[in-house]
């Protein structure tokens, strides 16, 4: 379970990186399209057709943000119950909380653009929290390997 915890936490961090890449990729594609004379209005934005090749990146950002990342965060929380790592539950709970905040800010940003700034900031907090959790997992996993004679040793200190 320690490995699972570690992998899931790293996955959240990686997903945040993917999110940042996707949204800037989409943005760059959009601006290039406009530079070349393309026109975007609500009708084009909602048409579902592809006006510029990077449009897919926005779709990935939305699906990742609203479905994939919340599911990974939830699995991380569940794995934390079973992972014998000090502070695992707290670390995972923080990740879940920051994901909830992140998704809310992402959606509310459509109406109140200023919240988009907080969306960017909170992404960094989420990334840090996920990396921190993953490192916690790594430390524990190392301890397990380096001390094969006393596999239960850390359990005593956990509870």
């Amino acid at each position: 379970m320690k490995v699972v915890y570690k992998v899931l936490a790293s996955l959240v961090a990686a997903e945040v990186a993917v999110q940042a890449m996707m949204v800037v990729l989409g943005d760059a594609g959009l601006f290039k399209y406009v530079e070349q004379g393309g026109v975007i209005d609500k009708a084009t934005a909602e048409s579902g057709g592809i006006q510029f090749p990077e449009f897919f990146a926005f779709v990935v950002h939305g699906v990742n943000g609203m479905m994939v990342i919340p599911v990974i965060a939830l699995l991380l929380l569940i794995s934390s119950f079973f992972a014998k790592i000090p502070g695992a539950v707290k670390g995972a709970a923080l990740v879940v909380l920051l994901v909830v905040v992140q998704v809310s800010l992402g959606l509310l940003g459509h109406q109140i653009p200023a919240l988009g700034a907080l969306h960017g900031l909170n992404a960094l907090l989420l990334f840090s929290a996920a990396v921190h959790a993953a490192r916690r997992g790594r430390g524990a996993a190392n301890a397990e390997v380096s001390d094969p004679d006393r596999p239960g040793a850390r359990v005593e200190t956990v509870v």
């Binding site: 004379g37 026109v39 209005d41 609500k42 009708a43 084009t44 934005a45 909602e46 048409s47 579902g48 057709g49 592809i50 006006q51 609203m66 479905m67 919340p70 599911v71 939830l74 929380l77 569940i78 119950f81 079973f82 014998k84 998704v103 959606l107 509310l108 459509h110 109406q111 239960g152 359990v155 005593e156 509870v159």
Partner: protein, 527 residues
């Protein structure tokens, strides 16, 4: 020592298991509860909302009991959709024997004035500019043929499905057709399977600009071309005026007018009056503006505005599904006029020259709340028989088992949404509130509603009758209409993917029932 350790481990595991169940249990329950049955009647969907008119109807004790039942069970009724046949009695049974909406037709003995057959095909086709599109056609083209009728005529359209695998229907967007001819799969008919046909009959009761489109898997079929224009001319069309349809649709992201990328040219001589009928068949609002001459917004959603004044340097925002008739008088010096539709391209009107430069979109948008001059509404909106709220929100949850952040209506997620109950003749007032963070083009079938106010500011211009109303994020609209067309009518978002995400409710007349079901053997899927 060993034993305490093992006990500790076991306790720990038990705790972890309990925490997991505490977390996943409610989620699993919510997931399970959100699953839709294989077939369900929209009559059983959600809970009845009588708009505060409990005493207005029949007043039998049976009624009171029923309505109480449906209101109390409102929170749990959603996932019982289709399970309880008896439940529908709560919506329809008020002493009046239910009549099937299949009986709500145009006079069957009357001969058709306009008769046309439309053959639907799934095929690869070419736009005039050469772009190849994998989509759907009607009589071999997309958009389908423009249907022309004159007010009062009986229009009869036979729809034949040659090769659309999911089945098709035709909905007459903006036309207040009889209940049986509304073309909504699973509500007013079964989707027409390959090899089948269905005949629509209705009287064109109002002169104006309308359109038709499939209402089976509509988010996909409309996008890929199952649509066309319908123009109803007045009894005495203005002599010597030019009349042009500008149906806007995007094929694979390419903006077209009447299926053509780039400009559409129409001949109009100096001094001539031109009516450009802009139809927005897309999922989002689009701006229309005019370069080279002032213009008047003559009609919205098929209804003429009252004394619309000429404007210039102003954009008209056309709601998704909505129509705007732009009227231009050609300049005397023979210079061409460009009617921009959503971008640099559009309809170019001219005679000697069509060299009309593109002009940028004006910063100002026409506010229909104060455009034109007032006229009698023909209804008393201050003393409505029913008052409904249609509050749009958004929250995370499951929609038929899919996790996501879905739309809500009055705090309820599909299918646990209100069924707006009316009786024939009621004056109905609806407050539409959008707290969902995104705009929604709301479309009520079978009726036209008049806008009373926006964000508490009363309408002071021409009566503004709509069938498709853009409700922006954070906005509140009050509208009113007369319930004068019995049936069961969709009241949904015309950003069609939003409808698949749960932004669908219905308006239901007391005493009307439908034999059709969503899902089932006909695989009806209206959204």
């Amino acid at each position: 020592m060993d034993r305490t350790r093992r006990r500790g481990t076991r306790l720990r595991l038990a705790l972890a298991g309990a925490a997991t169940i505490a977390l996943l249990g409610p989620l699993a329950w919510l997931w399970q509860a959100s699953l839709m049955p294989g077939a369900y009647s929209v009559m059983d969907m959600g809970y009845a909302d009588y708009g505060g008119a409990l005493t207005h109807v029949a007043g039998t004790s049976e009624h009171a009991e029923h309505s109480q039942h449906s209101q109390h069970s409102g929170h749990s009724a959603g996932h019982s959709a289709g399970h309880s046949a008896g439940h529908s009695a709560g919506h329809t049974g008020h002493g009046t024997p239910a009549r099937s909406l299949t009986s709500l037709t145009a006079d069957p003995d009357r001969e058709a004035d306009v008769a046309i057959t439309l053959v639907a095909r799934k095929q690869r086709f070419r736009l005039p500019t050469g772009r190849s599109v994998d989509g759907y056609t009607l009589n071999g083209t997309s958009p389908g043929p423009v249907i022309h009728a004159t007010i009062g005529q009986l229009v009869q359209v036979r729809l034949v499905n040659e090769s659309v695998p999911d089945g098709v229907t035709l909905h007459w967007h903006g036309v207040d057709v009889p209940g049986a001819a509304d073309g909504v799969a699973g509500v007013t008919q079964d989707a027409v399977r390959v090899g089948g046909s269905f005949t629509y009959r209705f009287v064109a009761g109002q002169a104006g600009t309308f359109w038709y489109h499939s209402h089976q898997v509509s988010h996909e079929q409309v996008r890929r071309g199952l649509l066309g224009a319908l123009v109803v001319a007045p009894a005495r069309p203005p002599a010597g005026a030019v009349d042009v349809v500008a149906l806007m649709h995007l094929y694979d992201g390419a903006r077209t007018i009447n299926g053509r990328e780039g400009d559409v040219r129409t001949e109009a001589r100096p001094g001539e009056r031109v009516r450009v009928r802009v139809i927005n068949t897309e999922n989002g609002q689009t701006p229309v503006w005019v370069g080279g001459a002032p213009f008047r917004l003559a009609a919205v959603d098929g209804t003429d505005l009252h004394e619309p004044a000429p404007v210039r340097d102003t954009a008209v925002l056309v709601t998704a599904g909505g129509r705007a008739d732009i009227e231009v008088t050609m300049p005397g010096d023979g210079s061409p006029v460009r009617v921009h539709v959503g971008g640099p391209t559009g309809v170019v009107l001219g005679s000697r020259s069509y060299d009309a430069p593109a002009v940028p979109r004006p910063a100002i948008a026409l506010d229909l709340l104060s455009y034109g001059t007032p006229a009698p509404l023909g209804l008393d909106a201050d003393r409505p028989d029913r008052r409904f709220d249609y509050e749009i929100g958004r929250r995370p949850g499951f929609l038929d088992g899919r996790p996501g952040v879905w739309w809500t209506i009055n705090g309820h997620m599909f299918p646990d949404v209100p069924m707006f109950m009316v009786a024939e003749g009621d004056v109905v007032r609806v407050r539409i509130v959008n707290d969902s963070g995104e705009p929604h083009p709301m479309h009520l079938h079978g009726h036209h509603a008049v806008v009373l106010s926006r964000d508490g500011v009363r309408a002071t211009g021409s009566p503004w009758w709509v069938d498709s109303l853009e409700v922006g994020a954070g906005e509140t609209y009050e509208i009113a209409f007369v319930a004068d067309n019995p049936g069961i009518w969709m009241d949904h978002c015309h950003n069609l993917p939003h409808a698949t995400e749960g932004l669908v409710a219905h308006l239901m007349y007391e005493g009307v029932s439908t034999p059709f079901t969503v899902g089932g053997t006909a695989a009806n899927e209206p959204e």
